[in-house]
Amino acid sequence: MLYALLCYNAEDVVFSWSQAEDDAVMARLAVVQDRLTKAGKLGPALRLLPTTAATTLRKSDPPLVIDGPFAETKEQLLGFYVVDCENLDEALEIARDLGKANPGGAYEIRPIRLFLPGGPVGAATAAAEPQGT
Protein backbone atom coordinates (compact mmCIF):
# COMPACT_ATOMS: atom_id res chain seq x y z
CA MET A 1 0.00 0.00 0.00
CA LEU A 2 1.29 3.47 -0.90
CA TYR A 3 1.01 6.17 1.72
CA ALA A 4 1.56 9.91 1.49
CA LEU A 5 3.28 11.39 4.54
CA LEU A 6 2.19 15.02 4.46
CA CYS A 7 4.51 17.26 6.47
CA TYR A 8 2.80 20.05 8.34
CA ASN A 9 4.65 22.63 10.39
CA ALA A 10 4.43 26.28 11.42
CA GLU A 11 5.93 28.02 8.44
CA ASP A 12 7.06 31.12 10.32
CA VAL A 13 8.99 28.91 12.75
CA VAL A 14 10.60 26.77 10.05
CA PHE A 15 11.63 29.89 8.15
CA SER A 16 13.20 31.26 11.35
CA TRP A 17 15.66 28.37 11.48
CA SER A 18 19.21 29.46 10.82
CA GLN A 19 20.91 27.97 7.77
CA ALA A 20 22.98 25.76 10.07
CA GLU A 21 19.85 24.46 11.84
CA ASP A 22 18.12 23.87 8.52
CA ASP A 23 21.15 21.99 7.18
CA ALA A 24 21.27 19.85 10.33
CA VAL A 25 17.61 18.87 9.96
CA MET A 26 18.06 18.02 6.28
CA ALA A 27 21.14 15.93 7.08
CA ARG A 28 19.24 13.94 9.71
CA LEU A 29 16.30 13.45 7.36
CA ALA A 30 18.72 12.23 4.69
CA VAL A 31 19.77 9.36 6.98
CA VAL A 32 16.17 8.15 7.25
CA GLN A 33 15.60 8.68 3.51
CA ASP A 34 18.71 6.68 2.61
CA ARG A 35 17.51 3.78 4.70
CA LEU A 36 14.07 3.88 3.05
CA THR A 37 15.60 4.13 -0.43
CA LYS A 38 17.81 1.09 0.22
CA ALA A 39 14.74 -0.82 1.42
CA GLY A 40 12.94 0.17 -1.80
CA LYS A 41 10.22 1.96 0.15
CA LEU A 42 10.73 5.61 -0.82
CA GLY A 43 8.92 7.22 -3.73
CA PRO A 44 8.98 10.93 -4.63
CA ALA A 45 9.79 13.30 -1.77
CA LEU A 46 9.60 17.04 -1.98
CA ARG A 47 9.83 20.24 -0.02
CA LEU A 48 7.56 23.14 -0.94
CA LEU A 49 8.41 26.84 -1.16
CA PRO A 50 6.56 28.95 1.44
CA THR A 51 2.82 29.51 1.13
CA THR A 52 3.51 33.17 0.33
CA ALA A 53 4.73 31.93 -3.08
CA ALA A 54 1.49 29.96 -3.59
CA THR A 55 -1.51 30.78 -5.74
CA THR A 56 -4.92 29.15 -5.42
CA LEU A 57 -7.38 28.43 -8.20
CA ARG A 58 -10.89 28.29 -6.82
CA LYS A 59 -13.20 26.26 -8.99
CA SER A 60 -16.01 28.75 -9.07
CA ASP A 61 -17.61 29.73 -12.37
CA PRO A 62 -15.53 31.26 -13.84
CA PRO A 63 -12.57 29.81 -11.90
CA LEU A 64 -11.06 32.43 -9.59
CA VAL A 65 -7.32 32.88 -9.09
CA ILE A 66 -6.45 34.12 -5.61
CA ASP A 67 -3.19 34.81 -3.84
CA GLY A 68 -1.80 32.67 -1.10
CA PRO A 69 -2.68 29.31 0.35
CA PHE A 70 -6.14 27.84 0.37
CA ALA A 71 -6.82 28.14 4.08
CA GLU A 72 -5.54 30.15 7.01
CA THR A 73 -4.16 27.66 9.52
CA LYS A 74 -1.49 27.58 12.20
CA GLU A 75 0.44 24.85 10.40
CA GLN A 76 1.04 24.69 6.68
CA LEU A 77 1.75 21.86 4.27
CA LEU A 78 5.49 22.23 3.70
CA GLY A 79 6.30 19.01 1.84
CA PHE A 80 5.51 15.33 1.49
CA TYR A 81 6.87 11.83 1.00
CA VAL A 82 5.43 8.88 -0.85
CA VAL A 83 6.31 5.60 0.88
CA ASP A 84 5.46 1.97 0.18
CA CYS A 85 4.39 0.19 3.38
CA GLU A 86 2.77 -3.05 4.43
CA ASN A 87 0.31 -1.31 6.70
CA LEU A 88 -0.44 1.78 8.75
CA ASP A 89 1.87 0.68 11.56
CA GLU A 90 4.84 0.70 9.24
CA ALA A 91 3.87 4.11 7.80
CA LEU A 92 3.57 5.43 11.36
CA GLU A 93 6.97 3.98 12.19
CA ILE A 94 8.54 5.85 9.25
CA ALA A 95 6.75 9.05 10.20
CA ARG A 96 8.10 8.66 13.76
CA ASP A 97 11.64 8.31 12.43
CA LEU A 98 11.24 11.36 10.21
CA GLY A 99 9.68 13.20 13.13
CA LYS A 100 12.69 12.54 15.33
CA ALA A 101 14.86 14.19 12.70
CA ASN A 102 12.58 17.16 12.18
CA PRO A 103 11.38 19.18 15.19
CA GLY A 104 7.83 20.45 15.63
CA GLY A 105 4.83 20.07 13.40
CA ALA A 106 2.92 16.95 12.44
CA TYR A 107 2.69 14.28 9.74
CA GLU A 108 -0.64 13.45 8.20
CA ILE A 109 -0.58 9.85 6.96
CA ARG A 110 -2.88 9.34 4.00
CA PRO A 111 -3.26 6.16 1.98
CA ILE A 112 -2.82 6.91 -1.72
CA ARG A 113 -5.66 6.07 -4.07
CA LEU A 114 -4.00 6.81 -7.40
CA PHE A 115 -0.27 7.16 -8.05
CA LEU A 116 1.13 8.41 -11.37
CA PRO A 117 4.92 8.40 -11.14
CA GLY A 118 5.25 10.80 -14.10
CA GLY A 119 8.24 11.55 -16.33
CA PRO A 120 11.71 12.97 -15.66
CA VAL A 121 10.49 16.38 -14.51
CA GLY A 122 13.08 16.66 -11.75
CA ALA A 123 15.87 17.25 -14.26
CA ALA A 124 14.12 20.33 -15.61
CA THR A 125 13.10 22.08 -12.41
CA ALA A 126 15.78 24.39 -11.13
CA ALA A 127 14.61 24.49 -7.54
CA ALA A 128 14.83 20.73 -7.20
CA GLU A 129 18.53 20.71 -8.05
CA PRO A 130 20.91 20.22 -5.18
CA GLN A 131 22.24 23.53 -3.89
CA GLY A 132 25.54 24.68 -5.33
CA THR A 133 28.20 25.61 -2.86
Partner: protein, 427 residues
Protein backbone atom coordinates in the same frame (compact mmCIF):
# COMPACT_ATOMS: atom_id res chain seq x y z
CA UNK B 1 18.24 20.48 16.02
CA UNK B 2 17.77 20.31 19.77
CA UNK B 3 14.53 21.16 21.53
CA UNK B 4 16.20 24.35 22.65
CA UNK B 5 17.03 25.40 19.09
CA UNK B 6 13.44 24.69 18.06
CA UNK B 7 12.10 26.74 20.98
CA UNK B 8 14.43 29.58 20.05
CA UNK B 9 13.14 29.53 16.47
CA UNK B 10 9.55 29.51 17.77
CA UNK B 11 10.29 32.47 20.04
CA UNK B 12 11.93 34.38 17.17
CA UNK B 13 8.97 33.68 14.90
CA UNK B 14 6.42 34.73 17.55
CA UNK B 15 8.32 37.84 18.53
CA UNK B 16 6.81 40.52 16.21
CA UNK B 17 3.27 39.40 16.99
CA UNK B 18 3.85 39.09 20.75
CA UNK B 19 5.82 42.32 21.23
CA UNK B 20 3.31 44.10 18.98
CA UNK B 21 0.37 42.95 21.10
CA UNK B 22 2.16 43.74 24.38
CA UNK B 23 2.94 47.20 23.01
CA UNK B 24 -0.76 47.71 22.37
CA UNK B 25 -1.54 46.86 26.03
CA UNK B 26 1.23 48.76 27.73
CA UNK B 27 1.76 51.52 25.20
CA UNK B 28 5.40 51.57 26.16
CA UNK B 29 8.12 49.88 24.17
CA UNK B 30 10.41 49.09 27.11
CA UNK B 31 7.60 47.55 29.15
CA UNK B 32 6.51 45.49 26.15
CA UNK B 33 10.04 44.25 25.52
CA UNK B 34 10.63 43.39 29.19
CA UNK B 35 7.32 41.54 29.33
CA UNK B 36 8.27 39.56 26.25
CA UNK B 37 11.71 38.74 27.68
CA UNK B 38 10.11 37.47 30.88
CA UNK B 39 7.64 35.36 28.87
CA UNK B 40 10.55 33.88 26.89
CA UNK B 41 12.37 32.92 30.08
CA UNK B 42 9.25 31.16 31.34
CA UNK B 43 8.79 29.44 27.96
CA UNK B 44 12.33 28.08 28.14
CA UNK B 45 11.41 26.52 31.51
CA UNK B 46 7.88 25.37 30.71
CA UNK B 47 7.99 24.22 27.07
CA UNK B 48 10.62 21.50 27.37
CA UNK B 49 8.49 19.89 30.13
CA UNK B 50 4.96 20.52 28.90
CA UNK B 51 5.60 20.70 25.17
CA UNK B 52 5.14 23.81 23.06
CA UNK B 53 1.68 25.40 23.19
CA UNK B 54 -0.51 25.20 20.10
CA UNK B 55 -0.28 28.94 19.65
CA UNK B 56 3.12 30.11 20.94
CA UNK B 57 2.42 33.80 20.27
CA UNK B 58 -0.84 33.78 22.27
CA UNK B 59 0.92 31.96 25.14
CA UNK B 60 3.74 34.52 25.18
CA UNK B 61 1.33 37.45 25.07
CA UNK B 62 -0.73 36.07 27.98
CA UNK B 63 2.25 35.13 30.13
CA UNK B 64 4.16 38.31 29.28
CA UNK B 65 1.15 40.44 30.12
CA UNK B 66 0.61 38.74 33.46
CA UNK B 67 4.30 38.92 34.33
CA UNK B 68 4.45 42.62 33.55
CA UNK B 69 1.27 43.21 35.56
CA UNK B 70 2.77 41.38 38.55
CA UNK B 71 5.73 43.71 38.25
CA UNK B 72 3.45 46.72 38.08
CA UNK B 73 1.50 45.50 41.13
CA UNK B 74 4.68 44.87 43.11
CA UNK B 75 5.98 48.33 42.31
CA UNK B 76 2.54 49.77 43.08
CA UNK B 77 2.98 48.91 46.77
CA UNK B 78 5.92 51.25 46.85
CA UNK B 79 4.65 53.93 44.49
CA UNK B 80 1.30 55.40 43.61
CA UNK B 81 -1.10 53.24 41.60
CA UNK B 82 -0.77 53.69 37.87
CA UNK B 83 -3.66 55.40 36.14
CA UNK B 84 -6.36 52.95 35.20
CA UNK B 85 -6.33 53.77 31.51
CA UNK B 86 -2.69 52.82 31.22
CA UNK B 87 -3.63 49.23 31.95
CA UNK B 88 -6.54 49.28 29.47
CA UNK B 89 -8.70 46.12 29.50
CA UNK B 90 -6.15 43.85 31.12
CA UNK B 91 -8.40 41.84 33.40
CA UNK B 92 -10.38 40.36 30.57
CA UNK B 93 -10.53 36.66 31.46
CA UNK B 94 -11.28 35.56 27.91
CA UNK B 95 -8.30 37.43 26.55
CA UNK B 96 -6.59 34.32 25.29
CA UNK B 97 -9.55 33.20 23.23
CA UNK B 98 -10.09 36.70 21.97
CA UNK B 99 -6.45 36.96 20.99
CA UNK B 100 -6.71 33.84 18.96
CA UNK B 101 -9.85 35.02 17.22
CA UNK B 102 -8.64 38.37 16.10
CA UNK B 103 -6.00 37.92 13.45
CA UNK B 104 -6.75 41.37 12.04
CA UNK B 105 -5.64 42.96 15.31
CA UNK B 106 -2.42 40.99 15.13
CA UNK B 107 -1.75 42.38 11.71
CA UNK B 108 -2.13 45.96 12.92
CA UNK B 109 -0.01 45.17 15.99
CA UNK B 110 2.89 43.91 13.90
CA UNK B 111 2.53 46.73 11.40
CA UNK B 112 2.53 49.28 14.25
CA UNK B 113 5.61 47.74 15.81
CA UNK B 114 7.45 47.91 12.49
CA UNK B 115 6.10 51.35 11.72
CA UNK B 116 7.49 52.74 14.97
CA UNK B 117 10.98 51.97 13.64
CA UNK B 118 10.30 54.16 10.58
CA UNK B 119 9.91 57.41 12.54
CA UNK B 120 10.71 60.20 10.04
CA UNK B 121 13.14 61.86 12.48
CA UNK B 122 15.27 58.72 12.67
CA UNK B 123 18.21 58.58 10.26
CA UNK B 124 18.48 55.35 8.28
CA UNK B 125 21.13 53.66 10.49
CA UNK B 126 18.95 54.21 13.57
CA UNK B 127 15.84 52.87 11.81
CA UNK B 128 17.76 49.76 10.83
CA UNK B 129 19.26 49.22 14.27
CA UNK B 130 15.89 49.69 15.96
CA UNK B 131 14.12 47.29 13.60
CA UNK B 132 16.78 44.62 14.06
CA UNK B 133 16.60 44.98 17.83
CA UNK B 134 12.85 45.32 18.36
CA UNK B 135 11.23 43.46 15.47
CA UNK B 136 13.84 40.82 14.64
CA UNK B 137 15.07 40.40 18.21
CA UNK B 138 18.77 40.43 17.28
CA UNK B 139 21.00 41.06 20.28
CA UNK B 140 23.05 44.22 20.66
CA UNK B 141 26.36 42.36 20.07
CA UNK B 142 24.93 40.75 16.89
CA UNK B 143 23.83 44.12 15.49
CA UNK B 144 27.07 45.82 16.57
CA UNK B 145 29.07 43.19 14.66
CA UNK B 146 26.96 43.76 11.55
CA UNK B 147 27.53 47.51 11.70
CA UNK B 148 31.20 47.17 12.68
CA UNK B 149 30.71 49.47 15.68
CA UNK B 150 31.29 48.92 19.37
CA UNK B 151 28.47 47.49 21.47
CA UNK B 152 28.46 50.65 23.59
CA UNK B 153 28.03 52.86 20.52
CA UNK B 154 25.25 50.66 19.19
CA UNK B 155 23.50 50.55 22.56
CA UNK B 156 23.57 54.34 22.58
CA UNK B 157 22.21 54.50 19.05
CA UNK B 158 19.28 52.31 20.02
CA UNK B 159 18.61 54.24 23.22
CA UNK B 160 18.53 57.51 21.32
CA UNK B 161 16.26 56.05 18.67
CA UNK B 162 13.87 54.73 21.34
CA UNK B 163 13.71 58.13 23.02
CA UNK B 164 12.69 59.77 19.75
CA UNK B 165 10.16 57.05 19.06
CA UNK B 166 8.60 57.41 22.52
CA UNK B 167 8.16 61.16 21.97
CA UNK B 168 6.14 60.68 18.80
CA UNK B 169 4.64 57.24 19.22
CA UNK B 170 2.37 55.92 16.50
CA UNK B 171 -1.34 56.04 17.22
CA UNK B 172 -2.69 53.03 19.10
CA UNK B 173 -6.13 53.30 17.53
CA UNK B 174 -6.96 50.75 14.86
CA UNK B 175 -5.70 52.45 11.68
CA UNK B 176 -8.04 53.25 8.82
CA UNK B 177 -7.34 51.89 5.32
CA UNK B 178 -5.45 55.03 4.20
CA UNK B 179 -3.30 55.12 7.33
CA UNK B 180 -2.65 51.39 7.09
CA UNK B 181 -1.48 51.74 3.51
CA UNK B 182 0.82 54.68 4.46
CA UNK B 183 2.29 52.61 7.28
CA UNK B 184 2.82 49.67 4.96
CA UNK B 185 4.70 51.86 2.45
CA UNK B 186 6.99 53.23 5.18
CA UNK B 187 7.59 49.75 6.58
CA UNK B 188 8.43 48.34 3.14
CA UNK B 189 11.01 51.11 2.65
CA UNK B 190 12.51 50.32 6.06
CA UNK B 191 12.71 46.60 5.28
CA UNK B 192 14.50 47.42 2.04
CA UNK B 193 16.91 49.66 3.99
CA UNK B 194 17.75 46.72 6.22
CA UNK B 195 18.29 44.59 3.13
CA UNK B 196 20.54 47.14 1.44
CA UNK B 197 22.62 47.54 4.56
CA UNK B 198 23.40 43.85 4.30
CA UNK B 199 23.63 43.75 0.52
CA UNK B 200 26.05 46.63 0.07
CA UNK B 201 28.77 44.73 1.96
CA UNK B 202 27.52 41.16 1.72
CA UNK B 203 31.10 39.87 1.67
CA UNK B 204 31.01 39.81 5.44
CA UNK B 205 28.82 37.02 6.82
CA UNK B 206 27.59 39.25 9.68
CA UNK B 207 26.23 41.62 7.03
CA UNK B 208 24.60 38.91 4.99
CA UNK B 209 22.52 38.05 8.06
CA UNK B 210 20.81 41.43 7.63
CA UNK B 211 19.65 40.31 4.17
CA UNK B 212 18.20 37.13 5.68
CA UNK B 213 16.40 39.14 8.37
CA UNK B 214 15.00 41.55 5.77
CA UNK B 215 13.72 38.59 3.72
CA UNK B 216 12.12 37.13 6.85
CA UNK B 217 10.38 40.49 7.48
CA UNK B 218 9.29 40.54 3.83
CA UNK B 219 7.69 37.09 4.20
CA UNK B 220 6.01 38.26 7.39
CA UNK B 221 4.58 41.32 5.60
CA UNK B 222 3.35 39.19 2.73
CA UNK B 223 1.63 36.73 5.08
CA UNK B 224 -0.25 39.71 6.52
CA UNK B 225 -0.93 41.42 3.17
CA UNK B 226 -1.32 38.43 0.87
CA UNK B 227 -2.83 40.34 -2.03
CA UNK B 228 -0.50 43.38 -2.14
CA UNK B 229 1.53 43.18 -5.37
CA UNK B 230 4.16 45.63 -4.11
CA UNK B 231 4.85 43.43 -1.06
CA UNK B 232 5.29 40.48 -3.44
CA UNK B 233 7.58 42.68 -5.53
CA UNK B 234 9.69 43.72 -2.55
CA UNK B 235 10.13 40.13 -1.35
CA UNK B 236 10.88 38.92 -4.90
CA UNK B 237 13.44 41.71 -5.36
CA UNK B 238 15.26 40.82 -2.14
CA UNK B 239 15.25 37.09 -2.88
CA UNK B 240 16.52 37.53 -6.44
CA UNK B 241 19.32 39.87 -5.37
CA UNK B 242 20.34 37.80 -2.39
CA UNK B 243 20.38 34.68 -4.58
CA UNK B 244 23.54 36.04 -6.22
CA UNK B 245 25.37 36.41 -2.93
CA UNK B 246 27.85 33.54 -3.33
CA UNK B 247 28.88 34.81 -6.77
CA UNK B 248 29.26 38.52 -6.07
CA UNK B 249 32.72 38.65 -4.52
CA UNK B 250 36.07 37.14 -5.50
CA UNK B 251 38.30 35.38 -3.01
CA UNK B 252 40.33 38.59 -2.61
CA UNK B 253 37.14 40.48 -1.68
CA UNK B 254 36.82 42.46 -4.90
CA UNK B 255 33.37 42.80 -6.46
CA UNK B 256 32.50 40.57 -9.42
CA UNK B 257 30.19 42.11 -12.00
CA UNK B 258 26.88 40.51 -12.86
CA UNK B 259 28.24 39.67 -16.32
CA UNK B 260 31.29 37.90 -14.97
CA UNK B 261 29.60 36.01 -12.15
CA UNK B 262 29.60 32.22 -12.10
CA UNK B 263 25.86 31.71 -12.45
CA UNK B 264 26.10 28.16 -11.12
CA UNK B 265 26.72 29.76 -7.72
CA UNK B 266 23.37 31.54 -7.76
CA UNK B 267 20.93 30.13 -5.22
CA UNK B 268 18.29 28.34 -7.31
CA UNK B 269 15.86 28.01 -4.41
CA UNK B 270 15.75 31.75 -3.75
CA UNK B 271 15.46 32.42 -7.49
CA UNK B 272 12.53 29.99 -7.79
CA UNK B 273 10.71 31.70 -4.93
CA UNK B 274 11.47 35.17 -6.35
CA UNK B 275 10.24 34.23 -9.82
CA UNK B 276 7.04 32.70 -8.42
CA UNK B 277 6.37 35.91 -6.51
CA UNK B 278 6.98 38.29 -9.41
CA UNK B 279 4.73 36.16 -11.63
CA UNK B 280 2.00 36.41 -8.98
CA UNK B 281 2.50 40.14 -8.56
CA UNK B 282 2.28 40.93 -12.25
CA UNK B 283 -1.09 39.20 -12.56
CA UNK B 284 -2.49 42.09 -10.50
CA UNK B 285 -1.63 44.62 -13.24
CA UNK B 286 -0.85 47.23 -10.60
CA UNK B 287 2.82 48.02 -11.19
CA UNK B 288 5.01 49.70 -8.59
CA UNK B 289 8.71 50.39 -8.15
CA UNK B 290 9.49 47.18 -6.23
CA UNK B 291 7.74 45.03 -8.81
CA UNK B 292 9.54 46.69 -11.70
CA UNK B 293 12.92 46.30 -10.01
CA UNK B 294 12.09 42.68 -9.20
CA UNK B 295 11.06 42.10 -12.83
CA UNK B 296 14.48 43.43 -13.92
CA UNK B 297 16.23 41.16 -11.41
CA UNK B 298 14.08 38.29 -12.69
CA UNK B 299 15.29 38.83 -16.26
CA UNK B 300 18.87 38.54 -15.06
CA UNK B 301 17.98 35.45 -13.03
CA UNK B 302 16.29 33.78 -16.01
CA UNK B 303 19.39 34.23 -18.24
CA UNK B 304 21.61 31.19 -17.85
CA UNK B 305 24.47 33.08 -19.55
CA UNK B 306 25.20 36.83 -19.50
CA UNK B 307 24.82 36.91 -23.31
CA UNK B 308 21.27 35.55 -22.99
CA UNK B 309 20.11 38.61 -21.01
CA UNK B 310 17.04 40.32 -22.49
CA UNK B 311 18.47 43.85 -22.43
CA UNK B 312 15.70 45.31 -24.61
CA UNK B 313 13.11 44.25 -22.05
CA UNK B 314 15.31 45.55 -19.21
CA UNK B 315 15.54 48.89 -21.02
CA UNK B 316 11.72 49.03 -21.22
CA UNK B 317 11.38 48.18 -17.54
CA UNK B 318 13.83 50.93 -16.55
CA UNK B 319 11.80 53.33 -18.69
CA UNK B 320 8.74 52.32 -16.65
CA UNK B 321 10.70 52.81 -13.43
CA UNK B 322 11.79 56.30 -14.60
CA UNK B 323 8.10 57.19 -14.90
CA UNK B 324 7.12 55.67 -11.55
CA UNK B 325 10.12 56.91 -9.61
CA UNK B 326 12.13 59.52 -11.54
CA UNK B 327 15.74 59.63 -10.36
CA UNK B 328 19.14 60.11 -11.99
CA UNK B 329 20.24 56.75 -10.53
CA UNK B 330 17.41 55.01 -12.39
CA UNK B 331 18.48 56.72 -15.61
CA UNK B 332 22.08 55.63 -14.95
CA UNK B 333 20.91 52.04 -14.60
CA UNK B 334 18.87 52.36 -17.77
CA UNK B 335 22.00 53.55 -19.59
CA UNK B 336 23.61 50.18 -18.88
CA UNK B 337 20.77 48.49 -20.79
CA UNK B 338 20.92 51.11 -23.55
CA UNK B 339 24.66 50.46 -23.84
CA UNK B 340 23.86 46.81 -24.57
CA UNK B 341 21.07 47.42 -27.06
CA UNK B 342 22.07 50.70 -28.80
CA UNK B 343 25.79 50.79 -28.06
CA UNK B 344 28.13 52.68 -25.73
CA UNK B 345 27.82 55.96 -27.64
CA UNK B 346 24.06 56.09 -27.02
CA UNK B 347 24.62 55.25 -23.36
CA UNK B 348 27.19 58.02 -22.95
CA UNK B 349 24.74 60.48 -24.50
CA UNK B 350 22.10 59.32 -22.02
CA UNK B 351 24.27 59.81 -18.93
CA UNK B 352 25.89 63.11 -20.06
CA UNK B 353 23.06 65.24 -18.57
CA UNK B 354 23.47 63.41 -15.22
CA UNK B 355 27.06 64.64 -14.73
CA UNK B 356 26.07 67.53 -12.51
CA UNK B 357 23.81 65.58 -10.15
CA UNK B 358 25.83 62.36 -10.06
CA UNK B 359 29.30 63.96 -10.16
CA UNK B 360 30.03 62.60 -6.68
CA UNK B 361 28.66 59.12 -7.35
CA UNK B 362 31.04 56.19 -7.70
CA UNK B 363 28.91 54.24 -10.16
CA UNK B 364 28.47 57.20 -12.50
CA UNK B 365 32.21 57.42 -13.14
CA UNK B 366 32.60 53.64 -13.14
CA UNK B 367 30.00 53.24 -15.89
CA UNK B 368 31.37 56.20 -17.83
CA UNK B 369 34.86 54.70 -17.73
CA UNK B 370 33.58 51.31 -18.88
CA UNK B 371 31.67 52.87 -21.80
CA UNK B 372 34.72 54.87 -22.93
CA UNK B 373 36.81 51.73 -22.62
CA UNK B 374 34.39 49.87 -24.85
CA UNK B 375 34.81 52.62 -27.48
CA UNK B 376 38.59 52.33 -27.19
CA UNK B 377 38.85 55.85 -25.73
CA UNK B 378 41.50 54.93 -23.21
CA UNK B 379 42.40 58.44 -22.02
CA UNK B 380 38.77 59.28 -21.20
CA UNK B 381 38.34 55.84 -19.59
CA UNK B 382 41.42 56.34 -17.41
CA UNK B 383 40.16 59.73 -16.26
CA UNK B 384 36.70 58.37 -15.36
CA UNK B 385 38.13 55.35 -13.51
CA UNK B 386 40.48 57.71 -11.67
CA UNK B 387 37.49 59.66 -10.38
CA UNK B 388 35.59 56.50 -9.56
CA UNK B 389 38.36 55.04 -7.44
CA UNK B 390 38.51 58.25 -5.40
CA UNK B 391 34.78 57.90 -4.67
CA UNK B 392 34.75 54.15 -3.93
CA UNK B 393 32.79 53.44 -0.76
CA UNK B 394 34.08 49.94 -0.06
CA UNK B 395 37.38 48.12 -0.61
CA UNK B 396 35.56 45.77 -3.02
CA UNK B 397 34.54 48.71 -5.25
CA UNK B 398 38.05 50.18 -5.18
CA UNK B 399 39.63 46.80 -5.97
CA UNK B 400 37.39 46.39 -8.97
CA UNK B 401 38.29 49.78 -10.47
CA UNK B 402 41.95 49.13 -9.67
CA UNK B 403 41.79 46.07 -11.96
CA UNK B 404 40.55 48.25 -14.84
CA UNK B 405 43.28 50.81 -14.27
CA UNK B 406 45.93 48.11 -14.08
CA UNK B 407 44.75 46.63 -17.37
CA UNK B 408 44.72 50.08 -18.95
CA UNK B 409 48.25 50.64 -17.70
CA UNK B 410 49.21 47.36 -19.35
CA UNK B 411 47.69 48.85 -22.51
CA UNK B 412 45.29 45.98 -22.83
CA UNK B 413 41.63 46.82 -23.24
CA UNK B 414 39.12 44.00 -22.71
CA UNK B 415 35.42 44.58 -22.96
CA UNK B 416 34.29 45.90 -19.65
CA UNK B 417 31.23 47.10 -17.89
CA UNK B 418 30.43 48.42 -14.50
CA UNK B 419 26.80 48.25 -13.63
CA UNK B 420 25.46 50.31 -10.77
CA UNK B 421 24.04 48.33 -7.90
CA UNK B 422 20.33 47.73 -7.70
CA UNK B 423 18.42 50.81 -6.68
CA UNK B 424 19.14 51.53 -3.07
CA UNK B 425 19.11 54.25 -0.46
CA UNK B 426 22.27 55.64 -2.05
CA UNK B 427 22.07 59.06 -3.73
Amino acid sequence: MSDLAWINAALTAARPQAVGALLRYFRDLDTAEEAFQEACLRALKAWPQNGAPRDPAAWLIMVGRNAALDGVRRRARLTALPPEDRLSDLDDAEALAAERADQADYRDDILRLMFICCHPDLPAPQQIALALRIVCGLTVPQIARAFLVSEAALEQRITRAKAKVAAGAASFETPGPAERSERLAAVMAMVYLVFNEGYSAAGAPERAQLCDEAIRLGRLLLRMFQTEPEVMGLLALMLLQHARRAARFAADGSAILLEDQDRRLWDRERIAEGLALIDKAMRHRWPGPYQVQAAIAALHARADRAEATDWAQIDRLYATLERLQPSPVVTLNRAVAVGKTAGPQAALAMIAPLAERLGGYFYFHGLKGALHLELGETAAAREAFGRAIALAGTPAEAAHIRQHLDRLAADHAPAADLSPPPMSARP
